[in-house]
């Protein structure tokens, strides 16, 4: 056995926590190793000193006991209040749960009924005419909503700069190639309704 391992086992041996077989091995090593005998003595001394530190008499001040008991009594009172509240809630819980369940059931029935009505209603333009009365005002309202009057918001006359030199502001390609389109003015276009009597030009 090496001294290093023997030292590892010494604390447990001093504390009586070493397995009997290892203890015999350690004792055999220590018997023939002066260095480890000194280590065992040092370990015992150190552990005895710490035991003395840990177990030395200690007076508990009276205020400590009083303060602890005060805190414990407050805690016990709080626990008692909590248990009263829990009992009250236990009595109230069943009616509250029944009420909540009934409310959820009513909402669910209403939603299911509404969905069934929507599925049963026909679609298409005729359906609009046959739709229930409660839908009609919404449709009418949307149709009667006045269209935004864009033309009224525009100025009656173009700005003077644009009126004086429109080419500076309009750069559309179709206008630049206007001369190529001129021959289209000569083409007569007819429609079926005209019967070939009117020309477009």
């Amino acid at each position: 056995m090496r001294c290093r391992r023997a030292q590892r086992w010494m604390v447990a041996a001093v504390d009586g926590e070493l397995a009997p077989r290892r203890r015999r091995t350690l004792e055999g090593h220590v018997a023939g190793c002066p260095e480890c005998r000194r280590e065992v003595a040092a370990t015992e001394a150190v552990l005895a000193g710490v035991t003395g530190l840990a177990r030395s008499g200690c007076e508990v001040p009276s205020h400590l006991e009083q303060a602890t008991l005060r805190r414990v009594r407050l805690l016990a009172a709080a626990e008692e209040e909590g248990s009263v509240a829990r009992r009250w809630w236990a009595g109230f819980r069943i009616p509250a749960l029944a009420f909540a369940t009934a409310a959820v059931a009513i909402v669910a029935v209403e939603l299911t009924r509404g969905a069934g009505d929507r599925r049963a209603a026909p679609s298409g333009p005729r359906a609009v005419a046959q739709a229930p009365a409660r839908d009609k005002p919404r449709v009418v309202a949307s149709r009667e909503r006045p269209a935004p009057k864009v033309a009224e918001s525009l100025p009656a006359e173009p700005p003077p700069e644009l009126a004086a030199a429109p080419d500076l502001f309009i750069e559309l390609p179709i206008l630049r190639n206007m001369e190529k389109l001129e021959h289209f003015e000569a083409i007569d276009t007819t429609t079926l309704d005209d019967g070939g009597e009117q020309s477009n030009g």
Binding site: Q7, R8, M10, V11, A12, D15, E17, E39, A41, A42, T43, A45, V46, L47, G49, V50, T51, G52, L53, A54, R55, S56, G57, C58, E59, V60, P61, L64, E65, A67, T68, L69, R71, V72, R73, L75, A76
Partner: protein, 215 residues
């Protein structure tokens, strides 16, 4: 992450309900006190407090190194005992359960970042007499010189124990307190017996190195 001080070790929580181990109750009178406390007997709490508060206070003093903090921690330990009294299961020794709570609270205390500032503010100057804890009784100190040497050794040992890493310090103090077996120390630390042996070996080696001149 430090352990929750209020939570006893998992082994306590997984055990069956109180009252299912009459043998343990018969063997350990503290268990009977705890069962009385669980039944609402405040006198049982006072009995437990009077029996264990000196050891808890001493443990906390050695752990945190301050009288005021040790008293606060001792209060907290017994308040937690009362708060979680219904979680106690009589399969374990009461002292193991109690020192589990004490260890967790002490470990939380020494790991708090603001603690270092507070300790520094209240640290005594070198040479000033330490107030916490009476001196160790030393039957071998028959002369004033020997007595002075013993007190010097005791102070040196206190300093060395206080400087140990928190887990080593916890294992060392728990193993010295109240005859807690390594199994109980491991339970209190939420660790294994092998780990406790390793912690104790390292702690003892450090102390031996620090006390080389006295040994």
């Amino acid at each position: 992450m430090p352990p929750d001080p209020a939570q006893p070790p998992a082994s306590h929580q997984a055990l069956p309900e109180a009252g299912s181990a009459p043998a343990a109750v018969a063997a350990d009178p503290d268990v009977a006190l705890m069962l009385r406390l669980q039944a609402g007997d405040e006198a049982a709490f006072q009995d437990l407090f009077r029996k264990y508060s000196p050891r808890v206070l001493q443990f906390a003093r050695r752990f945190v190194g301050s009288d005021a903090q040790a008293e606060e921690l001792s209060q907290d330990v017994f308040v937690q005992v009362f708060r979680f009294r219904h979680r106690y299961r009589p399969q374990s020794r009461f002292s193991t359960w109690l020192f589990t709570i004490a260890t967790n609270l002490c470990l939380n205390e020494v790991r708090r970042p603001e603690r270092h500032l507070r300790v520094d503010l209240w640290n005594r100057r070198d040479g000033e007499e330490r107030a916490e804890g009476p001196p160790l009784p030393d039957p071998t100190a028959v002369t004033p010189e020997q007595g002075a040497a013993a007190r010097q050794l005791e102070r040196r040992l206190e300093v060395l124990v206080a400087e140990l890493p928190a887990k080593q310090r916890a294992a060392l103090l728990l193993s010295r307190m109240d005859g807690l077996a390594y199994r109980d120390v491991a339970e209190a630390l939420g660790s294994t017996e092998g780990a406790v042996k390793a912690l104790l070996f390292r702690a003892t080696q450090t102390l031996k190195r620090g006390l080389r001149e006295y040994l």
